[in-house]
């Protein structure tokens, strides 16, 4: 760790925290480079890369051709000779063009060449949702990536985690997919100054509780916290575990919480079938059947593409009200006034009324 380490914190948005992590990394190590479509354009990838080219130069921070697959291979090749590339994609969906390089090369290189050379690349993927993003701008495919041995998959929720985990990702010797939910970019939170890294692996107890364990990731943790606040008033104490990473998963912390509460609900930002939520339910059932007092449950997106129309996405997303309903159902409690307290926001397809598009 550098000497300049400091832990004083300020309130920053998630996007600003990402920008700060990139500044810190580029400053700390001249082997760090950062590129992606629009990395140095006037919008700076939702503000996350603003100012980097001006400060660190166009050899290290640059825009790129529309060549997701090749540019992933370029990152891999550069990393084999000591460079630490950070690649940025404005939507996860665009990165699907790079599956060959990700799956066949990045994930395998260290293993298939017997540990001779690792691939320390970081790939930032931004998840879309709402505002008519539709079928090809809103996919949450973290379960795909977690399925591939050799990758690490990070999904922060808080601005502090965004900064600390991005720094750890950049300096991790392995390929890391760093997944940012668009609806988190304007969330504000305490963020420590300096080169403060949060280890990849351990989850974060976002809220302590004793009646039920809710495991969630990324933006779903925000909805879970709203639900838990309401449920507390109803006398239900929720323990919310914010995964932070979906590969590796902090199984020990999940098991300990389930041992305590005996009940498990898992929330996922992606489609239900083949989801991370499904994996967590399965493994808890296999390893902790004795601790479970009732069947575990999950809430995820429906197994259909996200439609574009405002009319078709009403009630489409899992919101705090759905979480509260599910918890009350699991505990055999009346649903009561959930709908009055946790109404689907209006409009329902944006992170807040302040958001007026177009991205």
């Amino acid at each position: 760790m550098p000497e300049s380490i400091s832990t004083a914190s300020r309130q920053l948005t998630f996007a600003k925290a990402i920008n700060e992590a990139l500044n810190v990394a580029l400053e700390a190590d001249d082997k760090v480079i950062c590129y992606g479509l629009g990395a140095d354009d006037p919008k700076g990838i939702f503000g996350t890369t603003l100012g980097l080219r001006q400060r660190f130069g166009s050899a290290r921070v640059f825009d790129m051709p529309l060549s997701e697959n090749a540019m992933t291979g370029v990152a891999i090749g550069a990393s084999l000779n000591g460079i630490r590339p950070v690649m940025c994609h404005q939507r996860l969906d665009f990165f699907l063009l790079a599956m060959d390089q990700l799956v066949n090369n990045a994930a395998k290189w260290f293993y298939m060449f017997d540990g001779q050379r690792s691939v320390p690349i970081t790939i930032r993927l931004i998840l879309g949702r709402g505002w008519g993003q539709g079928p090809t701008h809103s996919q949450n495919l973290q379960a795909w990536f977690a399925h591939i041995p050799g990758l690490k998959v990070v999904m922060p929720t808080s601005p502090a985690d965004a900064k600390g985990l991005l720094l750890s990702s950049i300096f991790d010797p392995n390929p890391v997919l760093f997944i940012e939910h668009r609806w988190l970019h304007n969330m504000v939170g305490d963020v420590p100054e300096g080169d403060v890294r949060i280890p990849i692996g351990p989850l974060r107890v976002a809220r302590g509780g004793c009646d039920i364990t809710i495991v969630s990731m990324s933006y779903m943790t925000v909805e879970a916290l709203h639900a838990a606040e309401y449920l507390q008033e109803r006398g239900v104490s929720c323990e919310i575990l914010d995964l932070r990473c979906v590969n590796p998963i902090d199984w020990q912390a999940i098991f300990e919480s389930v041992d305590k509460t005996g009940k498990l609900l898992v929330l996922d930002t992606g489609a239900e079938t083949g989801s991370i939520a499904g994996e967590i339910v399965a493994r808890v059932a296999i390893e902790r059947m004795g601790s479970l007092k009732l069947a575990p449950a999950r809430l995820a997106m429906p197994d259909v593409p996200e439609p574009t129309s405002f009319g078709m996405t009403k009630g489409f997303y899992v919101r705090a009200g759905d979480v509260a309903h599910k918890v009350l159902d699991m505990l055999a409690l009346e649903r009561g006034d959930v709908d009055a307290h946790l109404v689907e926001p209006i409009p329902h397809d944006v992170p807040g009324a302040w958001f007026t598009g177009p991205f």
């Binding site: 480079i33 050899a59 290290r60 790129m64 051709p65 060549s67 697959n69 090749a70 540019m71 992933t72 291979g73 370029v74 990152a75 891999i76 090749g77 550069a78 990393s79 084999l80 000779n81 000591g82 460079i83 060959d100 390089q101 066949n104 090369n105 290189w109 260290f110 293993y111 298939m112 060449f113 017997d114 540990g115 001779q116 050379r117 690792s118 320390p120 041995p149 050799g150 690490k152 010797p173 392995n174």
Partner: protein, 321 residues
């Protein structure tokens, strides 16, 4: 072309040929338990590149990489041990014939997916550019790779950022059993595609090892001096089957006549005859080299065969650094 280089080119081609012929002869013993893709007939490009590049230059390749690996100076014992799946193999037995590596001589890896190391080689070139050295990154590819999207993407980026990369395309006319004419428009040349993308490119006879050497030498010197990239396409021909040790002209995807016509172009015999006729190579010197080669290859096969397998408990190790 000095006599010494002319001889070295022949000896290097002979070494690659002899290794491949021995692999082919022993493959049916079922001890090499992985797919192999032999480059018999295509040795000229591999032989020349090793005399042009320095060990500190990088190279990457694809599934048909034995020649490129040996040409760049890769360790023969480690390559054979790898094909035999042994712990002493260049990838510890995890990769086999399609995943060769010898970083000590700059051979940074070969992989099994067509076109898949092209951008990796460009990325190595980017790292050279960022470090400011005069090294070169060499990417070996075949005619099939020139049909992949990543070929165009990688060439484009190399051109736009002037990355120091030497693309070496061996056009052997076949991708598995698919001939060039069902894959690429009639009359189009791959090096012309490279030129259209913005990469300086040339085309040469891949059976004339001295011509290959001269073109490579010029291109590499130019990259070192002025930056890259450069693209060289060499016409060559695959003698044996796509995957495996056999000849396969009997299965009907190409004619015996075509095969024999290409075989007449034989790069090794051509160089051999040239050197003997011009008296640059004495028969005794050739015989002595042949004998040392026989001893070296016998030793390497013994080493590979006698080396231990990796322990099966090792299968979960080295997933993450």
């Amino acid at each position: 072309m000095t006599p010494e280089i002319a001889k070295q080119l022949l000896f290097r081609m002979m070494r690659i040929r002899y290794v491949e012929e021995t692999i082919a002869a022993r493959y049916s013993e079922q001890a090499m338990r992985c797919p192999i893709h032999l480059c018999t007939g295509q040795e000229a490009v591999s032989a020349a590149v090793g005399l042009v590049l320095r060990p500190s230059d990088f190279a990457v390749s694809g599934h048909r990489a034995h020649g490129h690996y040996l040409g760049k100076g890769g360790n023969l014992r480690a390559m054979l041990a790898e094909i035999y799946g042994k712990k002493t193999g260049c990838a510890g037995g995890r990769g086999g014939s399609m995943h060769l590596i010898d970083e000590s001589v700059g051979f940074m890896g070969s992989t099994a997916i067509v076109g898949n190391t092209i951008p990796v080689g460009v990325g190595l070139g980017l790292s050279i550019q960022l470090s400011g050295s005069d090294a070169v990154s060499c990417v070996f590819l075949g005619d099939g790779a020139a049909e992949t999207g990543v070929f165009f993407e990688s060439m484009n980026f190399a051109a736009v950022r002037e990355i120091p990369v030497l693309f070496v395309c061996e056009n052997n006319l076949y991708s598995v059993y698919s001939p060039l004419h069902v894959r690429q428009p009639k009359g189009r040349k791959i090096f012309r595609l490279a030129q259209a993308i913005g990469v300086e490119a040339e085309h040469g006879d891949g059976n004339d090892v001295e011509a290959v050497y001269a073109m490579m030498k010029r291109a590499v010197a130019d990259i070192r001096r002025n930056g890259g990239p450069r693209f060289l396409e060499f016409d060559t021909y695959r003698w044996r089957e796509h995957c495996g040790p056999n000849f396969d002209n009997d299965i009907g995807y190409r004619t015996e006549q075509e095969y024999l016509a290409h075989r007449m172009q034989e790069p090794i015999k051509r160089q051999h005859d040239k050197l003997i006729q011009s008296k640059l190579l004495a028969p005794e010197e050739l015989a002595a080299f042949g004998e040392s080669l026989r001893v070296e290859i016998e030793d390497a096969f013994c080493y590979a065969i006698e080396s231990p397998f990796p322990d099966d408990t090792d299968v979960r190790a080295r997933l993450y650094a």
